[in-house]
Symmetry: C3
Subunit: 264 residues, 3 copies
């Protein structure tokens, strides 16, 4: 039975994030780099995208969190991701996996499975991706899921139990699982699916919240809550997906206790 996230816990994590301004080492896809960096800067984190195998080990160990996204995977990037995940694990830096289109394409599915063995602190994906990693039959199409997030709840719990990661399966409702408990976030807005990178950026926000040092289940749920509330509020004011983006970033920048309490 999913629980709600008390607003005061999300506020606590957001306040910590802003105090610490965690350095988040990101390797992500070519489509969402700028938007992702702007989301983290708006929230108060410090994103850095360091992508070459020559540099990732030196950087991942000094970061407060690492976030890996396979959306436009290439072979050199796969090498860099392996090394970044290994370094993060060895230095106890929490790291997040965003398995974009896992299950739909063999090359990246194999890499994601390999990375799972390096103990991500969290995995954030849509229903099809989480079901694929859990070994459940799913229906994806490109980077989209044709399954609703509620259909992936069991798979998410199993994946969390098997890997030890917090698993966030996001969609109309977000479910955040630790293999036992589930937190559900009902905010957000369908307009967010018409803007590229809202899910990919969320994965890096999850990484930033994990760097606050609080309870991981709460930290991941807080990341989802902040993004969902900002998304719902921006969608209410926007005329479409174009005006959504500046409103969303302004909303993340201005996010406070009153807005989170109203929104959750």
């Amino acid at each position: 039975m999913p629980h709600a996230l008390p607003a005061h816990r999300a506020i606590h994590h957001l306040t910590r994030l802003r105090e610490r301004a965690p350095l988040v080492h990101i390797i992500t896809n070519d489509v969402v780099t700028g938007f992702t960096a702007n989301v983290l800067l708006a929230l108060g984190a410090a994103p850095a995208m360091i992508t070459a195998v020559e540099e990732v080990a030196e950087f991942a160990r000094i970061a407060q969190a690492v976030s890996l996204n396979v959306g436009t995977l290439t072979a050199p990037q796969a090498d860099a991701m392996r090394l970044a995940a290994l370094t993060a694990r060895d230095h106890a830096v929490p790291w997040v996996l965003d398995p974009v289109a896992a299950g739909a394409l063999g090359y990246r599915t194999t890499l994601c499975e390999e990375l799972l063995a390096l103990r991500p602190a969290a995995i954030r994906g849509n229903a099809a991706e989480i079901m694929a990693l859990a070994g459940t039959a799913s229906q994806g199409r490109g980077v989209d899921s044709l399954n609703g997030s509620e259909e992936a709840l069991d798979a998410a719990q199993r994946l969390a139990s098997r890997t030890g990661a917090i698993v966030a399966v996001t969609g109309a409702t977000d479910y955040i699982c630790d293999g036992d408990r589930v937190i559900a976030i009902h905010s957000g807005d369908p307009l967010m699916t018409r803007v590229t990178g809202t899910g990919c950026a969320l994965s890096t926000v999850v990484a930033a919240f994990l760097a606050t040092g609080g309870a991981p289940l709460d930290a991941v749920a807080s990341a989802c809550a902040v993004m969902a509330v900002a998304g719902k509020n921006a969608a209410r004011q926007a005329n479409g997906p174009g005006s959504f983006v500046p409103l969303f970033l302004d909303g993340l920048f201005a996010m406070d206790a009153a807005t989170l309490e109203d929104g959750l």
Copy 2:
């Protein structure tokens, strides 16, 4: 003698696009990835950027259209493009070539000529690029054309005849050619040249419209018409190229029959 595009034909194609939400496999340049994805999402298509040679064949065959853009070409990307075009041809998936700066740089010109043999369904470029592929002397400068689109009309017709592709040469006026007939679109706005990626995004919109299954000449012209009308309307409301972008994306999202009839 160029014809106009009846608004009802553009509306027909746009309606089909929104019903089918075609999956468009895109390999494009580093500068325009985010904007391109947002343009397709605003219109109702499903963009996916899969760029590695390990993945493109698996993906191109399940896409409804493929779009290739050589703007920031690298050797690994050239390999991926060859394989994507070959796969698209072999699986009867329509594919589009955007020959950015062809004629100005030898490496990409050679690749574009090689790709032409793989039977693109459409080619979208500025006057200098189309003239270069047709073997006509032209004046480009970087990624810009110093020739007007009307100067490239003969070259576009010859290129269309030789390759079997629909050729769209875009500029102040867009000309869409099948080697015999020509459709001219007079909308658009000079402000679009002050925003990066409007032409590159158009090429992917052409791919999405080709996935609607209608007559290719009409489909390509409809893509140009929708983008030109959205551009003219956004420019009228914008204070400059910065405010243009959100207005343009909102306009694509809201595009309807009345707006297209007014605009054409």
Copy 3:
């Protein structure tokens, strides 16, 4: 003792830039490509991002300026940068180095030192980066500097003397140095640090202003002044970093003598 930049000198350089619309060859990091191109287009320059070793030599020699940024350096990109800088030097094309996170990561620090030998016309960085290149102990964190720009003034002068480049160390105040004279620009706004790419874009604007052919110290200072004034004005109207971006680009597009005089 730093001098102010007379507004009429910045206006003179901006007017020249708009008359010449210089072609600027850019190799930059994956995060800021789109924003960077939009900044240059808004100002009236012609950006082109040509990144492959197969193409850079052919392009750098026809460009009016070259701008190199190591923010998401890879080994193939390092090769392309070496060749672009070498070509620029050999063809008397002014080129700019943006040494993102130099000092923090060994691989890129080594490359930056190698590139310094190829005689950049200007170097633009934050305090930690400039101090690292000058051989002074500094405190960076990721891509951010923990030192204020004023702390790097001596290092900037030494680096300028040693390399012959104009060195711009930017921060709350920008200092532009030629090894002897210093110009200080006090505009800008802290909100600019919450938007990705304002510094990286500035480096390409420096390149565009160097292409106007005026005195280099003045040209670089004019670039900093135009960006700082546009930033200050956009921040005054913005609700946060999201609405800042369109306002900033509109402000660059509309920048004129009166606005520059008011702002400086």
